[in-house]
């Protein structure tokens, strides 16, 4: 067994290494354009765009703390529990999941690595203008979600993306007093 492993290792190692380096050098950032298929094809363009439902109706944690939060399924039922869209197959599917006491298993689109800590609250607080719809504050990182039938990641959300914003805007009058920092420990701890 050990000998087979070693032989396999000897053959595989150079192939993977060369392929790996090539991939690393030439592949585009994988995350941009990520638009996985969701268990229920929820349409942001319809809900947030056409019907103009504010982001915070569903993502109610966004001003409170770390997580914007995916809504509890009973929030969907506020409208779909009755006759709204009752005939549509996907709404039927949602209802049957809800009625079985479960929630759909959504696939995370904007997925930061585990060693990065991002808190929505302070960012929305700093970006959201008095009386404006929430989406204006979300656009900077998430793009124009209200016009996306399928949510797609549009920004790389890598460290450069975060740091650029923090570094380029921290001396502007609006943000000066907000304690914007580029210390590593703002996100990594």
């Amino acid at each position: 067994m050990v000998n087979k492993l070693i032989t396999a290792g000897k053959i595989l190692a150079p192939i993977i290494l060369i392929g790996g380096i090539a991939g690393f050098l030439f592949a585009p950032p994988k995350q941009v354009g990520y638009a996985p298929e969701q268990p229920i094809p929820y349409n942001h363009q319809l809900h947030a765009g056409e019907y103009g439902i504010d982001c915070q109706y569903c993502h109610s944690g966004v001003t409170l703390g770390k997580k914007a939060g995916v809504p509890a399924t009973n929030v969907c039922m506020n409208c779909h529990g009755g006759i709204v869209g009752a005939a549509k197959p996907d709404v039927k599917k949602l209802k049957s999941i809800y009625n079985s006491g479960k929630s759909p298993e959504w696939i995370r689109v904007h997925n930061l690595p585990d060693h990065v800590r991002f808190s929505h609250g302070p960012h929305i607080k700093a970006l959201l203008k008095e009386g404006a719809p929430t989406k204006e504050a979300c656009v900077a990182c998430h793009g124009d979600i209200a016009n996306m039938p399928v949510v797609t990641q549009v920004k790389s959300l890598n460290m450069g993306f975060c740091v650029n914003c923090h570094r380029n805007h921290r001396d502007e009058d609006v943000y000066k007093s907000k304690g914007v920092s580029v210390s590593c420990n703002v996100c990594h701890y």
């Binding site: 000897k10 009973n74 703002v186 701890y189």
Partner: protein, 1008 residues
């Protein structure tokens, strides 16, 4: 190591370890700070027959395979709530007030929960008495909840093995067993609901009886003594915050006795030298305890001779006191003259007389306490009786202690005579059913022959969380839920507490109250019973009670002085016993207590505050005895008491008088779980039963050499600072009042007189975090260390790794012994009376941090709020930073401790706000970065600045002594700023210009 050698050649004022050569430090000494793991790995490779070439091929393959992982982001799922509970926001912690009550103490706590899972236990800041005080013991109970070794369902013994059964069947089996003649064996109990239910259960049939015992002799000893002295079944409330002089006779009030967290809070409230508010603590004890090490004056006694000292003091103080005319008292104490007491205790006559003189000065404002396993010399509560006698003579009763709102008024203790009768009834078959409720009499009552008797019982019903030594011999196990899964209540110090569940039961367990009620069969639930009991105490309504967790059932009251019943002294020996031979005292250790939580690895690895030992107990012996017998640290000895003997390694402990030996209880359990079984030896097996009572102090023993030696995983020599002078600074109150800069004599001056830096200073805005630690208040109790482990996901490494110095503790408490001057040191060659100092050391977050400059990858650096941070994802493990750290606070993560190593449900105890470090990185104290971030973010959301005291680090939150203050030094009004400017403040190694963010306050001892 070098400074340890220095100590041999020249006098150093302060030293860390005893100069008795040790066998077991060698592994650590050879290895140095970073024991290379390469040698081990090479050995493993060679054992497996790997050649260098094959090794390279395998490594190359695995590296490139690891690279493959980077191409595809992991797919992560989000499963939201179906119905989100009202007021519950994912990612935001909620705190619930509840109470942890066990056999010996009550602790009001706040439970931090995230997404419905309890994460951390913290002190209850709003409680008027406790004010957030908590013990490490209580903090550690979070790991009890997630202990995979808990009993998960009712079990019935069939043959020699246990088989899981349904609850209905278990209850039915138990109820039918209870129809036979039954004894219900439990420990002291603070819960009014439980006590009433147990009483109902026991009184429902004439052939049932109840036994209540306390093997730690804390409440038990007090209850017996109170009964003898005053005829009451309560333990009084002690007010260390009103006493100007505290005399402790073997009571470890700051470590393990009754409510150490509350007593520490009260004690430290009177350790404020600047305001001139300083009490005096005098301790007379045989073993070196946490309390003794904090004493202003400590008298090392021969084991078990504290009774002689107390009676000697009573003899000297009697004339002119309230009891002067009492012939019975005079007769009991008259032979306890200073010279006779001197021969018994080992103290000089002068010491005894001057102690009496001093007590006389503090009449009505002093407090004498005694108790605990190391005080139980007769099993009848004599230590409490003599404390009561002294408090009556000094007029303290009703002033500094009171029974009007008692600490304990629960189930009454059963005398050893009655327990012996019950045991013989079980052995004779007169009692067929034995119910053991959350106790371990097989282990604890070994001296009384409990185990042999138990084998005669037909039915043994065990209620508990783990299969301990008693459960292993039972026929039916009813698993009890953790307190965080149960409804419960407690009454203590004039408060009524209600315990609410913070999570649904993880396993098929039931709360103790629910089990008792189901045995009664009246269908009531624990919740309903607690609600109805609470109405007796609570007027504010159920929800208000739940929100606070407690209610004042009666005003804390001092009451009037009681009349001491002199007949309580009738059992006192006419003459003080003579010293001679070896005398053994048992004691509860800070880490393990009574041993019921010994399956928690964090507890096993918590260094003892005094000896710094982890993973096991030992026989503490005096320096004089070690010298005389040529014992080295770790030498195995055989200890024999009344024909029973056990073997244990020797630990040479300064502060012990020749002939005194001591051993911790709680170790040496044969069953408990994967972690706790068979660690150390069972000290209870040496308890004396000759008199009919179980005696745990002053036991005459013989100690002989046994073969070989044992490895001692003590951390006392690990991570020493570069030098010893001027690190811990201390002075006396009298010196301090003359000179506010007293204690700084050993301050080093930088070369050339003024420290210069190479780098430009950092700019901080608007926050710069600093910490202040008051060494006058710190008692070394180690609650902070436990809290740090719990908050920061710090792994336990095990005995093998501690032996080579790889413990991961982010904060350690350095313990030093010292003498004031060379004469004093020469006068005490046997180190009976050294000064003891504690110094918590964590990352000092230096402004000019040496570690930051040497990191080749910029993984550690300085933030604009004054933190020295670690980015684990950048760290490549060169360990340059740790090498450069003058405080030795950086820890290298050698092995993978979490991934794949956790047993379900242990993972729930991990704090999701702190990165779980993998192997190969350096980690260290972050000043609880996650707590700072949380508060900072919520302040930003609210659009305000942080206020002083808003952020509390985990260590600060847990500190019962209020020794740790954390805050923003840029705020001129902040408490931490004021403290840093105080004349007592200093920084470690300040002359090197590293500018630590942690400052310490000179320790002040009050020499009277």
């Amino acid at each position: 190591m070098s400074q340890a050698k220095n100590a041999k050649t020249k006098f150093t004022q302060i030293f860390r370890s005893v100069e008795v050569e040790s066998e077991t430090d060698k592994r650590w000494e050879e290895a140095g700070e970073f024991p290379a793991s390469v040698r081990e790995i090479m050995q493993r490779g060679a054992d497996a027959g790997l050649t260098r070439k094959n090794f390279m091929a395998l490594m190359g393959a695995s590296l490139s395979m690891a690279g493959l992982n980077c191409f595809k982001s992991p797919i992560e799922k989000i499963v939201p709530y179906v119905n989100r509970p009202v007021g519950h926001v994912p990612g935001i912690a909620k705190y619930y007030a509840t109470v942890k009550a066990n056999a010996v103490s009550v602790a009001p706590v706040l439970v931090k929960t995230r997404e419905g899972k309890p994460l951390k236990i913290e002190g209850h800041d709003d409680h008027p008495l406790y004010r957030g005080a908590i013990t490490g013991d209580t903090v550690a109970t979070i790991w009890d909840l997630y202990d995979p070794d808990r009993v998960r369902a009712p079990q019935k013994k069939s043959g020699t093995a246990f088989a899981e059964i349904k609850w209905e069947e278990a209850v039915k089996t138990a109820v039918s067993a209870l129809e036979k003649s039954t004894v219900y064996i439990g420990k002291t109990n603070f819960s009014p609901s439980e006590n009433a239910t147990i009483d109902r259960l026991v009184k429902a049939s004439a052939n049932r009886s109840r036994v209540v015992y306390d093997p730690t002799s804390s409440i038990g000893e007090a209850l017996k003594g109170e009964k003898a002295s005053y005829g009451t079944n309560v333990v009084p409330t002690y007010r260390f915050d009103t006493a100007d002089l505290i005399l402790s006779l073997e009571a470890d009030l700051l470590g393990t006795w009754l409510q150490p967290e509350l007593y520490t809070k009260q004690f430290s409230s009177k350790r404020d030298p600047l305001a001139g508010n300083m009490n005096r603590l005098i301790v007379a004890e045989a073993n070196m305890s946490v309390t003794g090490s904090n004493a202003d004056d400590r008298y090392a006694l021969v084991s078990g001779s504290h009774i002689s000292l107390a009676l000697g003091l009573a003899n000297l103080l009697l004339p002119g006191s309230a009891l002067a005319g009492n012939a019975q008292v005079r007769k009991a104490v008259e032979n306890y003259t200073a010279s006779a007491v001197s021969a018994s205790t080992g103290l000089t006559e002068k010491q005894i007389v001057s102690l009496a003189e001093e007590l006389k000065k503090y009449k009505g404002r002093s407090l004498v306490v005694s108790g605990g396993a190391s005080a139980a010399v007769d099993g009848n509560g004599i230590s409490q009786v003599v404390a009561n006698l002294l408090n009556t003579i000094l007029g303290n009763d009703g002033k500094t202690l009171s029974s009007a709102t008692p600490f304990y008024s629960g189930a009454n203790i059963t005398s050893d005579t009655e327990i012996k009768k019950v045991i013989s009834d079980i052995a004779a078959g007169k009692i067929e059913t034995v119910v053991i409720d959350r106790a371990n009499p097989v282990y604890e009552l070994e001296a009384l022959g409990f185990q042999e008797a138990l084998s005669k019982a037909k039915n043994v019903i065990f209620l508990g969380t783990h299969i301990n030594d008693s459960a292993a011999l039972s026929s039916l196990i009813l698993p009890v839920s953790h307190y965080l899964e149960s409804w419960s209540d407690a009454e203590s110090n004039g408060y009524y507490y209600v315990g609410q569940p913070a999570i649904r039961t993880l396993f098929s367990t039931k709360s103790s109250l629910d089990i008792l009620l189901s045995l009664l069969g009246d269908g009531q639930s624990a919740n309903a019973l607690v609600q109805s009991t609470s109405q007796r105490f609570n007027k504010a309504g159920w929800n208000a009670l739940l929100a606070r967790g407690f209610t004042e059932s009666s005003k804390l009251n001092t009451g009037a002085g009681r009349t001491f019943n002199a007949a309580a002294l009738s059992s006192v020996a006419a003459n003080p016993p003579k010293a001679g031979g070896y005398k053994l005292s048992l004691y509860s250790s800070v880490a393990l207590g009574d041993g019921s939580g010994a399956n928690i690895s964090f507890r096993q690895e918590l260094p003892d505050p005094i000896s710094k030992m982890t993973w096991g107990n030992y026989l503490a012996v005096s320096v004089a005895d070690a010298r005389a017998n040529g014992w080295k640290m770790g030498k195995n000895v055989k200890i024999t008491a009344e024909g029973k003997s056990i073997e244990a390694p020797v630990f040479v402990q300064p502060g012990l008088r020749k002939g005194s030996v001591a051993m911790a209880i709680g170790y040496g359990q044969k069953n408990l779980g994967q972690v706790g079984a068979n660690i150390g030896v069972n000290a209870y097996s040496l308890a004396s039963a000759k008199s009919g009572n179980m005696i745990t102090a002053g036991i005459p023993v013989t100690v002989e050499d046994a073969s070989g030696s044992s490895e001692m995983a003590t951390t006392q020599k690990h991570y020493e600072l570069a030098r010893e002078r001027g690190l811990v600074r201390s002075t006396t109150l009298q010196e301090f009042q003359k000179n506010p800069r007293a204690g700084h004599e050993h301050e080093e001056v930088p070369h050339g007189g003024k420290a210069k830096g190479l780098y430009t200073a950092h700019k901080y805005t608007p926050y710069q975090w600093n910490m202040n630690i008051d060494l006058s208040k710190c008692t070394g109790c180690s609650a902070c260390v436990v809290s740090c482990y719990s908050e920061n996901n710090i792994p336990v490494v095990g005995k093998d790794q501690v032996l080579v110095g790889r413990e991961m503790s982010w904060m350690r408490i350095d313990r030093y012994y010292s003498y004031q001057n060379e004469d004093q040191a020469k006068a005490d060659p046997d180190m009976v009376d050294p000064g003891v100092y504690f110094q918590p050391v964590m990352c000092q977050h230096c402004e000019n941090a040496p570690c930051e400059n040497v990191c080749p990858v910029g993984a550690t650096g300085h933030s604009d709020d004054g933190l020295n941070y670690m980015s684990y994802n950048r760290c490549i493990g060169t360990r340059y930073c740790a090498n450069d750290c003058p405080f030795k606070v950086r820890r290298f993560n050698y092995f993978e401790f979490w991934e794949g190593k956790l047993r379900d449900p242990e993972q729930f105890a991990l704090n999701p706000d702190v990165t779980v470090r993998s192997r190969g990185v350096i980690e260290k104290c972050s000043f609880c970065q996650q707590r700072i971030a949380e508060k900072r973010q919520s302040a930003k959301i609210a659009g305000r600045q942080l206020s002083d005291g808003e952020i509390k680090t985990a260590c600060q939150q847990a500190c019962p002594a209020d020794a740790i203050v954390f805050g923003n030094i840029q705020d001129k009004e902040a408490k931490v700023t004021k403290l840093k400017e105080d004349s007592r403040a200093y920084q470690l190694l300040a002359e090197t210009n590293v500018k630590p963010a942690v400052s310490y306050m000179v320790k002040i001892r009050n020499q009277g």
